[in-house]
Every structure is written in structure tokens, then in C-alpha cells.
Symmetry: C2
Subunit: 245 residues, 2 copies
């Protein structure tokens, strides 16, 4: 048995999310089916992060096992061949030790959230970014983000349905970059609660619009109450960028 | 009568092209219809460049006249409102002198062509770039492009159906930039022949793949024969970036 680690890019708007579900087509299911088509082996594909419906990935990581002895390059071209015409692409395939686990061994996940801040609606980036018409004060957003760095109870920034036992999470960094009308918020952490990035972004946007003061972020964090935070920002702006081991 | 200059962004893959045609929906038609919906005036919208089916625009320019006295900001929000849900967006509206002409007064047009050069297929950029799997030698492409700068008979780089009377055109610049797997070819010129950018790109890609020598570009130019040049690169990679007056 050989274990393969794969890096995957996908357009989230076409799927119900990474994980297999009864109500639609998932990325996991399509990759498992593509693997079956070339290997005749029924495998389970384990992803590093269970991205939600509509969330994109530029560098999702997953692993699976094959009984057959196949070269990495052949695995890559075969899966990509059978994935057509779905907007999922295997960027890299590597043989890894049999105890490697894409989810449990991940040391850090990095997400990036893309905002386009202009009055005009989005013609080209419509499914690829969050359109905010009101001018955003990114300095205030950067200041507000600081209090989230480190280890905190993030109960205010998890969805009501979040199934994690422990709301205490570490955030390694939040970088906010602006070039012309584009704003990118990159967040790195060992792991995330459900909707954590999108609720943090929704709160930062409230502060960027100057509807809320910079200081409000610390109050929301201390409140440990989802209702205090901003809305969940749309899935179209969110990308799983990379997973580190 | 007031004349308005507009800057337009659109997703080319959804339309038959900029110009009104009998075989499908054009960007020009949808903008004219949106203007009618808010003003009740039947206008003609004149574009700076007649982009083909599938070609995108980040900064197409056009003009039209209105009898009614309306403010630029109201014109912009009204057209954008009635353009929904089509992937066309008016980025800017300005009142201009009544003798301004978007097409005839344009001094320079700038196009950018986006290539993604990697083995893996494109999941996210599928309709937004040209996928080239074989590694491209961009140094050779830059060298080859040099002989096209200036005033030349570009008969080798125009489509068979090109209706221009004169194949002699000036090219101001060709800039080839590479960052990671992305290659962008930006071409500026006062005006272009039909399919000129896409045929130049198709030829540059042949040279980048090292299927053709750098010197072949000058031979193709001298031949004044479309059959000597490379294939027409796909429309998905082409963007009308800006028009200067």
C-alpha cells in the first residue's frame, strides 16, 4: 500500500463543499470517483480542511492509499483526466509515509479572503470576491485585527452550528494588504472553528466601514457571544491557500 | 444634449462580443437596453474597440448622448441597476464635450493576455486565462517580440476575415511579465487589426515552447502571410485593459 499526498485547487461555487454530503456534489466525492475510474480501487480521500459550500481552494491538501503500484506523475494525470470537466485540479502528487495524515498532521492552515472595494458592481470577479461598495478604512481594520492574534476563546467568531468541543484557538497572524481596489485578508492558524474566517472578516468590514469603532473588536472577543460579532462574510471571497506540515 | 463617456468592465465569455449581432447577445445591446430602461431614450453606444466573442474588458470605453439632463453618478447607478444580473459593470461615467468620440479619438489601446504555464489544468482561472502545460521560455518570447515594435505591415498577424483597408500598423510596446506560473503579455498600440493580439500571442507561445527559433518571428513578419504565423490564441486569455485619449 502506498500513501499519496495531493494538493488540490477548486472553484467552490460549483459544489456543496469539500466533504461528501447527501444534498449535492462534493469535491471529495468527485476525487474519489476519479481515483476509482483509473485504479478500480474504492478509496477514502482525507482532506486537511472541510471547506464549506462556495469556498475556493488554491492549496487544499488531502491523502489516500492505493494498493496498486503507480507513479505519482501518473496518479496526477489520471485523476485530472477523470475529473474533467469539473473545476477541480490536482496540482501536485507525492508519495508520503504510511502514517502521514492530511488533517491530523497539519501544523498550520492559511486562508485568504478577497474583498473588492469600489462603487461599481463586479462583472469579472463576481464569484471570486466580496464586493463592498462603501470605502473601507484598512488602517482601522489592521488595528482591530491585532487583538485577535494569539490564544483566545473565539466563541464570538464561530457559527451557531459549530461542532468543535473547544472554542479556544490560536491565531498566528492576520495580514491585511491593499492594492488599488483590492483588499486581501490572510489569516494563519493551526486550526479554525466553523465560519471563523468569514465572521472575523464580517466584523472587520463593519469596523472598516466605520460603523463600529476599532475598540469594539476587543469587546466582541471578550463577550464570547456570536451575536456580538459582525455578519458572516460571503463564501465567494474565501480561499484555502495552503496547509503546512 | 449631453455626451457621456463610460468605462466598462465585462466577462466576455457570456456574450457574442462587444458589437450588436444577430446571432446572440452583445454587450453593446445590453448597455443600450439598460440606458433605455431608465431614460426612455433610444441611444446608440459607440465603443472604442469591438472586442470579439469571449474577450474580456477591464477598461473598455464608450460614449452615448442623452437628451435628458441627468447627473453622471445617477447615470452610472441606473445603468448598473438595469444591467443586473449580466456580468457587465460601468466603472466610471463622465460628461464630455459633444465632439468626443470613443472610437475615433482614441490615441492608444492597451490589451493584456494572460497565460497560466503549469502542468495541472485550471480549476479557478479556466475562463480567464490560456492554459499552456509545456514550459515556456519567456526570455526567447521577449527577444522575439522586439522585432514587432514600431510601424510594420502586419498582414501575417491579422485574421483572414479582417476588414481593415490597411495592414500597416504601429505597435508602441510589448511587455512580457512572469510571476510564478503566471505570464502576462501586454501590448499597446494606437489601433489593432482583427485577432492581432491573439495571433501574436499564438506565435510567441510557439517560440516560448522552443518549437520555433527566436529568429522565426522576423521571417513571419516579412512573409506578410497569415499562414506563416502561429495559431490564434484562445479568447479567454484576452482583456481590453485601457483606452487612452
Amino acid at each position: 500500500v502506498q500513501r499519496f499526498k495531493i494538493i488540490v485547487e477548486y472553484l467552490g461555487s460549483k459544489f456543496v463543499g469539500w466533504q461528501r454530503q447527501n444534498n449535492g456534489i462534493s469535491i471529495q466525492q468527485l476525487i474519489e470517483e476519479a481515483i476509482f475510474k483509473f485504479s478500480q480501487e474504492l478509496v477514502l480521500v482525507y482532506g486537511a480542511g472541510r471547506t464549506d459550500k462556495g469556498v475556493h481552494a488554491l492549496g487544499q491538501v488531502a491523502h489516500f492509499d492505493l494498493e496498486k503500484n503507480v507513479k505519482s506523475t501518473s496518479v496526477m494525470s489520471a485523476i485530472n483526466f477523470y475529473l474533467k470537466p469539473h473545476p477541480i485540479s490536482i496540482l501536485e502528487v507525492k508519495v508520503v509515509p504510511n502514517n502521514f495524515h492530511a488533517r491530523f498532521d497539519a501544523k498550520q492552515r492559511r486562508y485568504v479572503y478577497k474583498i473588492i472595494n469600489r462603487i461599481a458592481p463586479l462583472a469579472i470577479m463576481n464569484n471570486f470576491a466580496y464586493h463592498v461598495a462603501k470605502p473601507l478604512n484598512t488602517n482601522n481594520m489592521k488595528l482591530a485585527a491585532q487583538c485577535l492574534i494569539g490564544k483566545h476563546d473565539l466563541s464570538s467568531f464561530r457559527s451557531i452550528g459549530c461542532q468543535s468541543n473547544n472554542p479556544i484557538k490560536n491565531i498566528d497572524s492576520i495580514d491585511i494588504a491593499q492594492y488599488a481596489e483590492n483588499i486581501e485578508i490572510a489569516i494563519s492558524a493551526p486550526s479554525f472553528l466553523h465560519n471563523q474566517v468569514r465572521i472575523i472578516v464580517g466584523t472587520l468590514v463593519k469596523i472598516g466601514k466605520e460603523e463600529w469603532e476599532v475598540e469594539k473588536m476587543a469587546e466582541i472577543l471578550a463577550a464570547k457571544n456570536r451575536k456580538q460579532a459582525g455578519p458572516t462574510a460571503p463564501s465567494a471571497g474565501l480561499y484555502l491557500l495552503e496547509v503546512k506540515y
